[in-house]
Symmetry: C2
Subunit: 512 residues, 2 copies
Amino acid sequence: MRAIVPVIAFWTVFQMGGSAPLFAFGAEEGTVVRESINRNRVEILEELMEFLTLPNVSGNLDDILENARHLQKLMERRGIRTQIVDQERAPLVIGHIEFENAQRTLLLYAHYDGQAVDESRWVDSKPFAPILRDGTLEEGRVLELPAGGEILDDWRVFARSASDDKSPIVAMLAALDALEETGQTPTSNLIFVFEGEEEAGSAHLPELLTEYRDLLRADAIIVADGPVFITNAPTVYFGARGIVTLELTVYGAARNLHSGHYGNWVPNPAQRLANLLASMKDDSGRVLVEGFYDDLKPLTPAEEEALESVPGVEARLMEEFAIGSTEGDRTLMRAINLPSLNVRGLRSGWTGEQARTIVPDRATASIDLRVVESIDPARQVERVIEHIRKQGFYVVSSEPATETLRAQPKVALVTSAWGYAAHRTAMGDPLCVTLLEALRSQFGEVVALPTLGGSVPLVVFKEKLGNDLIIGLPIVNPDNNQHSSNENLRLGHFYRGIESFAVLYTMPGLSD
Amino acid sequence: MRAIVPVIAFWTVFQMGGSAPLFAFGAEEGTVVRESINRNRVEILEELMEFLTLPNVSGNLDDILENARHLQKLMERRGIRTQIVDQERAPLVIGHIEFENAQRTLLLYAHYDGQAVDESRWVDSKPFAPILRDGTLEEGRVLELPAGGEILDDWRVFARSASDDKSPIVAMLAALDALEETGQTPTSNLIFVFEGEEEAGSAHLPELLTEYRDLLRADAIIVADGPVFITNAPTVYFGARGIVTLELTVYGAARNLHSGHYGNWVPNPAQRLANLLASMKDDSGRVLVEGFYDDLKPLTPAEEEALESVPGVEARLMEEFAIGSTEGDRTLMRAINLPSLNVRGLRSGWTGEQARTIVPDRATASIDLRVVESIDPARQVERVIEHIRKQGFYVVSSEPATETLRAQPKVALVTSAWGYAAHRTAMGDPLCVTLLEALRSQFGEVVALPTLGGSVPLVVFKEKLGNDLIIGLPIVNPDNNQHSSNENLRLGHFYRGIESFAVLYTMPGLSD
């Protein structure tokens, strides 16, 4: 294996001659890499667990910086040249490593910060004192790490960021070790971008990507965040929906009024809100806002084919979620390749024990709009506002004055926040095809998703780095309790994820 | 004035010869009674304020009993024979007084318990340390009670139960004094029923009315609770809407789900609830539930005429409430003579700062249904449930089992609580006509409402006492902050209320 700039002794020791294949990882190489990973399961896990002991709640700058420095050491041990930029605000760890005869450069993104923690809700463990169980939270027993012993696929590590998103980082580095140990050289130069502010909203990432654009030039961007598809098969995604949120308040009288004395004379804002929301979406799940689907770009044949080959999960999910119907008759995959309008919250007056016989003074709905490639989120918001106007509402963007409320038959306050667009990478691009083929040759079944249902700001990389080949390569288990207490990583997924990165690093060059 | 059983010295002293007119209260008698009340403004107010110093939060039995005993003394001082029944649970004060040549018996109902208090929210006063202001809370200055001095109509007393409902009780008693002082004898025997459990829901009242039914035989029942009409004119009401409440929960998945990964595939219960509520009532305020208006009895000509003569308050209320439209084009009075369906609360997921990008697991609406005379509240609930079924929901009455949620396309939990029917007294009854004429002769303008918009369980008196001549005679100001902090009584209304009871007691006999 041949790293062009082997700065650290450890890395140098393992350097090998120029005989390494340019497109490794046929069945044989895949097997030896897997064996190498399996031989080193304990050591790899120890490296992860040590990393997990460092508190990393997003926003705690001192902690974040300590994580960045630890990460820097892990990277430099592999011969990666590193720098930590923006240490005063949002420390971003950037690493570079080049290889002889590399065919391209790949930029790998992950984040090392984590969500806030509520220690009291962690069972038998603490967020930054990782423990091992021989199964899920519900069924697994707590284990000691068996020094030199066997580690089974179903075992799990419980800690903050065990899955989101420290394990992908450790997996990216361990993949280099496995290639090293088995005498294989990556076919791509690698740039690592590890963010410390993702869970706080990535406020500085766009600026930093712009500032370091020249350092971050790559042929493709690999995002390693989020879980694999719910069937647990290895997963690649080529896009993600964008999102914009709306808050919508409809007004009644200036104060709550007695529903007997004034009810069915004074306007009821809860009823008006219900009628307005009902006008936006029918029972089959079709959004009735004019133009909502207008800019929808048809899926390409490659995307269509990918969609059709995603395993059917509907029956299983309906059982798990205890639902007897879905919104419309579409498959989950068809649904998430459409723009959506989702009422995520309703508030008006009181219900249950607190209920009072009033006509509420106002009613609020919180809505998220997901958009897919080619639909502009700002335009989508405008369409919804136009729809609200057509229902007879006078739309304001801040708390309306009393005079406005008196003058207008119906008033709605609409505000919108944190939007970004969708992105969809062309699945037919040779690099995408090559990666999928390489992964399938290693794993057999691989799920290729044209679009993630969730929103990941892939578009930021596209906009700031001018690169639209952005591919998601998640590795962790979907039942990982991400963002919550008892976050966990299934180790079978983790070790397989290391293989995935090894496949990525050694996939055939474009010229081959 | 001639009380048949004058047990107390005070009362006896004022007895007069048989020359008192049987139907007093022409213009002249009205004037002398008013003058008597005005002469005694300070003493009457002192009696009220002393009563208001007794804590009377409903449910505090010791306090309630102390109020009952105090009340007993006030009554016996006027020669009323009293008893306190059900002292262990819900002390009910019953009083009787008969007069020579009385033409009928009237039962007067009020309550002496009060709503709970939050002392911290009372401005410059405490709930049970009444103070006087020379105006409203916002504009009035705090005053000392001027011993022997002048008391103006706009002055107000601030204390719990100042308006709801101790002042009507004191007014009923002071009216006897004024008649006594001016040498007039009531034309009706009087029964007083003062309840100590009204604000806690009157759980024992039906049972007590049944038990003491023989003691409570009367020609008509006068209920003195609630405020006068919003124009502040003297008010009589002849009915009240009944009420029944509904809570309606619509289900999505068994837990909140990520709105990106599962949104617009998994059913959104907030959207389904909105669509369901929209199917129940259109933008013009018409309830679309089949049969909702079927049992509506047309207003009688007398009721129609009364409705037409209620002063128009719509423009003023629209200004005050800051609304630019109403539900439908009806007047307030037309509206409250219809059954209603009012969404009093909505809850699903989160809004505002707490909003999360989820598909909520459930959505709940709290609804009250008001009914008018001749519409059965239980039947009305059934109609709404039938409507929900017609929208494709499987309706359950307790938390549905997972198996039910899996088996049914749409599931709704519907529960209903505390219902009672409406009551409407025939306004054409000679007693009603006589009372209205007598009040109009005293005051000029009197508002006669066929139905109160709010719900008062008049029907309990009808059902338990077999008496359907039930008339509301409220006296207090509508802006009294009833049930809230800084509850208050405008004294002009109070003194006028005393006159109203004097008119009631001396209205012409049926035979005249």
